[in-house]
Symmetry: C2
Subunit: 455 residues, 2 copies
């Protein structure tokens, strides 16, 4: 790859050796390698295999579970130089690119030809498409467009033997043998290195209507969700955030335009598609009136302009950033929709009991049953001690998730952070099958050892 | 399973021992077993494993490639008594059922709650949902709704060790480890037995507009397809059939209402969604006028009523049945859209040269790049000799598919019929990975031995 593209010392190791997860592991890569072609990647893999050096496939390192961390002398194989858009075909609605292209650039390229790549999340400027595929990333539009898996038409993958698999692509239908693409999507770099992808694009929505509602409890929120579903609205987002989230999202120091006098126990940010903004807004009004009469919402506002719609979105999207300074301990979980209400109550009770003084902040993608649980470090407590306490609390959180039939990892994956808990929501038989597949594809444990699987 | 549900002799063996494929293999099951619970299926699998008896998982036996044929003394494990709808949740838009429920019954149950299960194909009355998942079935609405894979929310699968995997289900988002569902979808019964499924449902289209167009060649048809895509119509079908298909589809003996004086080289049956039938029809008219002016279509008719729309559909859907008496030799292939035209020309030339006197009939799902190639037995030639000739011609067909970057199996799978050709469009590295997965999940080769993989 050329000497300048192998980094073996200094701050580069720290930078490329970790992602955004907060963990108690060391950052200890042996080297960072930055190939710029498929052939170079194959050679790097073969070279590592020959020398028994494990590989951490690495994208934009925006992950939150440590899947891209090198903690035991691995070689970090960074895809950052594989950042070319190779071909955009507006007629077939396909975009072919290298794995290191940032998500935001994909969105921009799609937009340039009047199309949409609908996977969208906050770290899109840094997150790379390869990593988003390896983690089957979700985001704010999953209720409408599904997870990343839905948008992957083709993949090129380098396996542990150095072979290049060319899976799917221009071919829209292929039932000749196992669909190996599916195996690599969401496998968190444990089965191979995604080096190129062919993505599906779609027509963008004609227009959107956005509303913010205030509800007393999650049962009311779910009733509203069912109402919108039954009315056959084209729902493109159904996000929730609780009372304390509202304080952060609207800006603790410089309050943004929060439309209600006070936050309710739950806020719902909902968005529907329509032929025009006016049509979408007009469709929302009677639905929200009926929801209000049924007690599902106590206040609601429909954004009268696109600028106001953005302002409402900012209330939801600003939460994560606003929490940053509070050293939040996060958990990304999913639950059956019918269990969300009971789960959140039990979680808050458990926090109050086990972590007194710790403020909870809950927001997420209700339409997907996906909650982001945040625990904030109390003033005056050193973050490292707070995190240690939270880590001792994790079995309680994931125990509740198990009890309610949820998943310990909704959209952020397992990585290092949650591997000990995989067995909470996957059965021994499932984990055995997963292990047998890992062994079949990567018998020497070359890719991302110690990730995803429990010890 | 009870003595009456084990069939060991007579015509039952013939009936349950084969599907609708036309092949030159013997039908030779040892026994047919019809369990009626998950536990019974687990016991049957364990019993077979203990006695070294291979298993052919078997649904409605409507497959066309021999995937459900028992040819070497296997036990046929029929899911026919596993035919219960377990739960329909209109609010979550999920339907949970056993694997032996016929597709048509699923469609009806969805329809009863105002929803749609959008996978649709001709054999839906007999085809079972488990088999449709095991083969990742396609059909006439793939251009709008995708393949069966898109509609499987959860699966329960019995593995070779007798374990029951409970994969997905009510949980809408789960990124905790490999998505094992995906592995079983489309694996043609080689990795496990699908015993239950949770299916996604969707809102049915409000209204449809249907048109039939006549075009001179496939380049013109593709230009029409691009035009409709660019106009952002919600296209729900884009089917094609050639001149000889038109003769069969409109009924050779009792001509149905074919709207043009004579069939063109290619007919396009297209359907779009709209808020109302009138809106859909009004959207079609200017597009077809523009297409006509551009030379993409030479004649076009928009169905003025729903009854006329059905009559147009019958022209396309009647083809397969009409061909039945002509002992057609079929091939189901897919190609990149840009190669369809050249491929069809080369295929017809090759038939004319290698199989003189054999009539070709080509129809398919153009939007998916999926062609159904039919070769008709000439009058006076015994079908068995005709089939033997066609089988010698297959390497030519699949060689062309390979040359144009297509797939030897678009939607019917590989089974017995095409296994020798898998390597034509899947690389040695891919087949090696597939074999390693098969060995990992089914090390003794219990499930469907001799299917899908080449020798």
């Amino acid at each position: 790859v050329g000497e300048t593209h192998v980094l073996c010392e200094g701050p580069d190791l720290q930078e490329y050796g970790q992602d955004r997860a907060v963990g108690d592991w060391p950052v200890r890569p042996t080297a960072i390698v930055l190939p710029n072609s498929v052939e170079q990647i194959q050679q790097v893999v073969l070279c590592c295999a020959e020398h028994g050096a494990a590989i951490v496939p690495s994208g934009g390192r925006t992950g939150l579970v440590g899947g891209a961390c090198a903690i035991q002398g691995e070689v970090v194989l960074s895809l950052s130089r594989m950042n070319r858009i190779l071909r955009v075909d507006p007629s077939l609605r396909l975009l072919h690119c290298e794995a290191g292209v940032p998500l935001e650039k994909i969105q921009q390229e799609a937009s340039r030809v009047g199309l949409l790549y609908p996977i969208d999340f906050a770290s899109k400027g840094s997150a790379q498409i390869g990593g988003s595929i390896a983690t089957n990333a979700g985001g704010v539009k999953v209720v409408r467009y599904g997870l990343t898996r839905n948008w992957v038409q083709g993949l090129r993958v380098v396996t542990a033997s150095g072979a290049l698999l060319d899976l799917g692509g221009e071919l829209l239908k292929d039932n000749a043998g196992f669909d190996l693409r599916q195996l690599f999507i969401g496998s968190e770099g444990t089965l191979g290195v995604i080096v190129e992808a062919t993505l599906r694009l779609c027509a963008p929505p004609r227009a959107l209507g956005v509303a913010l509602c205030a509800s007393e409890d999650l049962r009311a929120v779910l009733a509203l969700f069912s109402r919108l579903r039954a009315a056959d609205c084209m729902l493109s987002a159904f996000e929730i955030f609780d009372e304390s989230s509202a304080g952060y999202g609207s800006g603790a120091s410089s309050p943004r335009d929060f439309p209600f006098a006070n936050p309710a126990p739950w806020q719902v940010l909902l968005e529907i598609e329509g032929e025009s903004e006016q049509i979408a807004r007009e469709a929302l009004a009677p639905l929200l009136t009926a929801a209000s009469e049924a007690g599902e919402v106590r206040e609601a506002v429909v954004a009268p302009t696109a600028a106001q719609a953005s302002a409402l979105w900012a209330l939801r999207e600003g939460i994560s950033d606003a929490l940053h300074g509070r050293s939040p301990f996060k958990a990304d979980v999913s639950l059956p929709l019918g269990s969300l209400d009971a789960f959140v109550s039990r979680w808050r009770e458990a926090v109050a009991e086990a972590l007194p003084g710790v403020e909870t902040v809950c927001f997420g993608h209700l339409g997907d049953g996906n909650l982001h649980l945040n625990h904030l470090c109390p003033q005056g407590v050193p973050p490292h001690r707070f995190f240690a306490n939270c880590r001792r609390f994790e079995p309680t959180i994931f125990g509740l998730v198990r009890e309610f039939g949820g998943s310990i990892a909704a959209e952020h994956g397992v990585g290092l952070l949650k591997r000990a808990f995989l067995g909470y929501t996957r059965s021994p038989a499932e984990i055995a099958v997963m292990r047998s597949i890992k062994n079949a594809l990567d018998p020497k444990g070359l890719f991302n050892p110690g990730k995803l699987f429990p010890d």
